[in-house]
């Protein structure tokens, strides 16, 4: 009593002495945190501005300077940049006459700079740009002599537009025909040739498929179990009073029958006695004869189409365009090795007479260059042309990886949060999943290459590896063992569950642990059964035997699966959080209505967690879209103009390698033979990449907003 009085007096005397610490004043922290945020945003803004400015600048047509150097030398080009010592970097092009396409010129050495009206920059199909003055458009006559159609730069430039678009149209038609018609015929020939190889393989397969006794014992087991199941089914007692043991026996019998019937059916279907794989000698000969006929027919057609294409190209090659550069007075040649012939008109992709263009003319060139960039394939070791296949590859990869990772992650998170008993095990798994997010992505690349491409892909192509296929007797034994293991595990989990209204005893705990071990063993056995089956020879054996694997190499499918694995932790973590955020009262309400666990999950938990799940998918997509390192190993290539999607079956060619914007940037920046020419393309590609990732995210966010509106409705 007296103690407390003293204490309170003590407190009152000191109350006046309390002072306010600096840390209690709010303003400094506001400034500190605020400026940290500004710093972060500022760095991002600078990065974006840099990409934006440099990316947009690339395609703007600069003025063409004609320099007179103090040695009397004439140089024509576009100024790119200057350094601190007064030197200018000029893009001078004209690589095919042995000149560096970029040149540093000392400012003091320049005597005069002009910007002649008739100077043009040609963007060509090959050998980069050409600077010069157009002289004439000529036609090669029958005797091989050139006769001028136009004369002088003014007249030539005037006539150029119409003649050029006609020539380009002809060339495009020819190329399309080459690609489409000849491509189709080539595919036909290839298919016919493969049919022969497959027939040969089939004969070999038949020769090896002799040992088929394993199925006999198996069929007996199958028949007896099915019989037992039927007997049980007929005399089953569904009434009250059969007790817990009765219920369990009933369940395991049903499960056992189902497993044996399903897997027995699969086994007999794969290696049944009536099924003779492969083909006989006669049928092989028939296939070969038909194939030879088909190849001959296609060869004739090939010649015909090729003739048509050649005729078009012949007309094309007659129209020549003479553009003379000022230094040596040479015209742009048709090819580097044929320097005495002027180039074909159709080889010009675009002519930019920059000095006579108005502002709107330049905007037009800018627009047309951008259009070319996003709608055509690359030229000149990727330093020119467009990135259309790259865009397609990137978008497809991102979509595929999202399609793969989302269901997988959601299912994993559902089990972890809704079904699994929360405890040490689930904590370990959570930590492991989070750590998975920290594994360097190149490790995933190595894994993807080794596992997906070389193991799974190879299996799809040619079946079990040489020598690993089991003899059929052993295989059937393994198969039966797997089935028995599955039934035992199911039994363990049944008897490991306590009776209703009773907590688990030690025996239950042991049995449920055992059932986990049992399921593990079952999975291992099943994997062995599948991986070492003597009855599967692969889907693409013929092609793989020629050294060109279909799925057993780097490709879009494996790349997207690798990235799906890489982004899995993101989805699992996001989904788990979203599921945990669904209030428990909702679940109780659903159970109270008589819903089962799965019905509750499907109708209450998943819709409630959907926005969170989609957030996870968006994060995974963003992460996956930006990955490059693993792609270098599992599928991205420098150049592949064959898109992974096409109008021919199977439309999505997931086995093909693809181009990817991230890898493209790396390739342009560090692997390009002409790094000066590639540098601006790095910026432009980066800008485009950012835009695409942004667009993909925006689309996903819009879908999420729409779904969220549907599931939650207008609350209050």
């Amino acid at each position: 009593m007296s103690d407390s009085v003293i204490q309170s007096e003590h407190a009152t005397t000191h109350a006046t002495a309390r002072r306010t610490l600096p840390s209690a004043v709010g303003e400094p922290m506001v400034w500190l945190t605020g400026s940290a945020l500004v710093l972060c945003l500022g760095m991002i803004a600078v990065l974006l501005a840099l990409v934006l400015v440099n990316g947009l600048r690339t395609f703007w047509p600069g003025d063409i300077d004609q320099l007179t150097l103090n040695g009397g030398e004439q140089v024509m080009g576009i100024r790119v940049t200057e350094d601190t010592e007064g030197r200018y970097l000029y893009r001078v092009g004209n690589r095919d006459i042995g000149q560096e396409s970029f040149r540093w010129i000392d400012g003091d050495a320049i005597v005069a700079i002009e910007q002649p009206d008739d100077a043009v920059m040609l963007e060509r199909e090959s050998w980069g740009v050409w600077f010069g003055v157009p002289e004439s458009i000529s036609v090669v006559g029958q005797d091989g002599e050139l006769s001028r159609v136009t004369d002088g730069s003014g007249e030539t430039l005037e006539a150029f537009g119409e003649m050029h678009s006609e020539a380009r149209g002809r060339r495009a038609r020819g190329e399309a025909m080459r690609k489409r018609e000849l491509g189709r015929i080539n595919r036909g020939i290839e298919a016919a040739r493969l049919a022969v190889a497959e027939a040969e393989l089939g004969v070999e397969q038949r020769a090896h498929a002799s040992d088929r006794l394993g199925w006999v014992s198996w069929s007996l087991v199958l028949a007896s179990v099915v019989f037992a199941g039927i007997v049980w089914w007929l005399k089953r007692d569904a009434g009250v009073g059969i007790g817990a043991a009765g219920v369990r026996v009933g369940k395991i019998t049903r499960f056992g029958c189902a497993v044996v019937v399903i897997f027995g059916g699969i086994g007999l279907w794969v290696g049944g006695p009536w099924k003779v794989a492969g083909m006989t000698g006669e049928s092989r000969d028939a296939v070969i004869a038909a194939s030879v006929l088909e190849q001959e027919r296609l060869q004739v057609e090939y010649e015909r189409v090729l003739g048509e294409v050649r005729a078009g190209e012949d007309i094309d090659s007659r129209e020549r365009f003479v553009v003379v550069e000022p230094t040596l007075g040479r015209f742009a040649p048709i090819a580097q090795t044929r320097g005495d012939e002027p180039m074909m008109l159709s080889q010009v992709v675009r002519l930019v007479a920059a000095n006579r263009l108005s502002f709107f003319g330049k905007v037009k060139v800018f627009g047309s260059r951008w259009w070319e960039f996003v709608s055509t394939g690359p030229r000149e070791a990727n330093t020119e042309g467009g990135v259309y296949p790259v865009i397609v590859g990137t978008v497809l990869l991102t979509l595929l990886l999202t399609v793969f990772v989302t269901p997988l992650g959601v299912i994993a998170a559902l089990y972890l949060r809704e079904y699994a008993v929360q405890g040490f095990g689930t904590s370990v798994i959570r930590v492991a999943v989070n750590n998975l997010a920290g594994v360097p992505s190149i490790v995933y690349g190595v894994f993807g290459l080794g596992f997906f491409c070389y193991t799974v892909g190879r299996y799809v192509d040619v079946g079990p590896a040489e020598g690993s296929a089991l003899s059929s007797g052993v295989w059937w034994g393994l198969f039966g063992l797997a089935v028995v293991a599955a039934i035992c595990s199911f039994g363990c989990s049944l008897w490991g569950k306590p009776d209703p209204g009773h907590p688990p005893r030690v025996v239950h705990r042991v049995l449920s642990k055992l059932s986990w071990v049992g399921w593990g063993v079952t999975v291992v056995l099943m994997v062995m059964v599948v991986a070492r089956t003597p009855y599967f020879m692969g889907f693409f054996g013929a092609r793989a035997a020629e050294g060109s694997p279909t799925f057993g190499a780097r490709g879009l499918l494996w790349a997207s699966l690798t990235l799906a694995l890489l982004t899995l932790p993101v989805v699992i973590v996001a989904t788990e959080e979203a599921i945990a955020a669904v209030p428990n009262t909702m679940r109780e309400g659903s159970f109270g209505c008589g819903a089962s666990k799965w019905q509750t999950i499907r109708r209450i938990v998943l819709p409630g967690a959907l926005p969170g799940i989609l957030t996870g998918a968006i994060l995974a997509m963003a992460r996956g879209a930006g990955e490059v390192a693993p792609l270098m190993l599992v599928g991205a290539v420098k150049l592949n103009m064959d898109l992974p999607v096409s109008t021919t079956a199977p439309f999505l060619h997931a086995d093909r390698s693809f181009m990817h914007l991230g890898f493209h940037i790396y390739d342009l920046g560090f692997q390009s033979p002409d790094s000066q020419a590639a540098r601006p393309m790095v910026w432009t590609t980066t800008l485009l990449f950012l835009l695409i990732v942004f667009a993909l995210n925006l689309a996903a966010i819009m879908i999420r907003a729409k779904l969220r509106g549907r599931t939650t409705g207008a609350a209050i």
Partner: protein, 300 residues
Amino acid sequence: MSDVETNERASVQAVVAGGIGGEAAHYDVIDAIRRGESVEPTVHPEMGEVDSVIQTDDFQLWYGAAQAIHGISMDVPRGAVTALIGPSGCGKSTLLRSINRMNDLVDGVRVEGGITLNGAAVYEPTVDVIELRKRLGMVFQKPNPFPMSIFENVVYPLRIDGERRKSVLAEACERSLKSAAIWDEVKDRLKESALGLSGGQQQRLCIARAVVADPEVLLLDEPCSALDPVATIRIEELITEISERYTVLIVTHNMQQAARVSDYTAFMYLGRLVEYGPTGAMFQNPKLIETAHYVSGRFG
């Protein structure tokens, strides 16, 4: 566990203050229960004559090592409203949730003794829990409408049974919304989210959801404890109305509520049944002084 202790302390004080005319009252039964002795419940003779729908037979329940219900045997009469009252932690909600086995969702629950619903045992390995819960409608303490439209909320129990016919669903929805006395308020906004309703409306919606599949018994777990007085009165009216068609078992903290809505009342204390009889007799003429003091608010 700590709840029980607090309660004990609270009731010790109640004993001190609760005596008539300042004298300390002697609660023999409750003292015995507090000492952990087994006490024979005082059951009014009228209870022996009723036709019971739910019977518990020496039902005991443990949460891990802690026993929450100590052998309760009682019959819930058919076609009437039965209220379970008692101080917090006396096991009334636990008893209610044992009937439709919602306690299965809690880890480490152990039961002994039996509960029968219409003569069929509830705790039997052969019993399908899902099917059991379908026969019992349940309404929870806090209104818990699902985040979907009002219509979908009401027909949820039918949906999970695979009912797809529009006409059947619409008819059932209207019928149960009418029996939950909320039809007039929501009939024009069936497609809107149920989360936009007020608390009282949400609870009536939950009652509509609980009765849509014609349950054998309606279990109400303190349905008004999260509602304001006006909403409470509407729910109470609704319970009276609905009891014409359904057997209702209601857990409540509110003595007046029990007096207003129920036909029979069971007074529980620390997991034991103390007194059980017709509501009128329990409130006006109870056999035990503990009951008299509890219902008049002198302790507990």
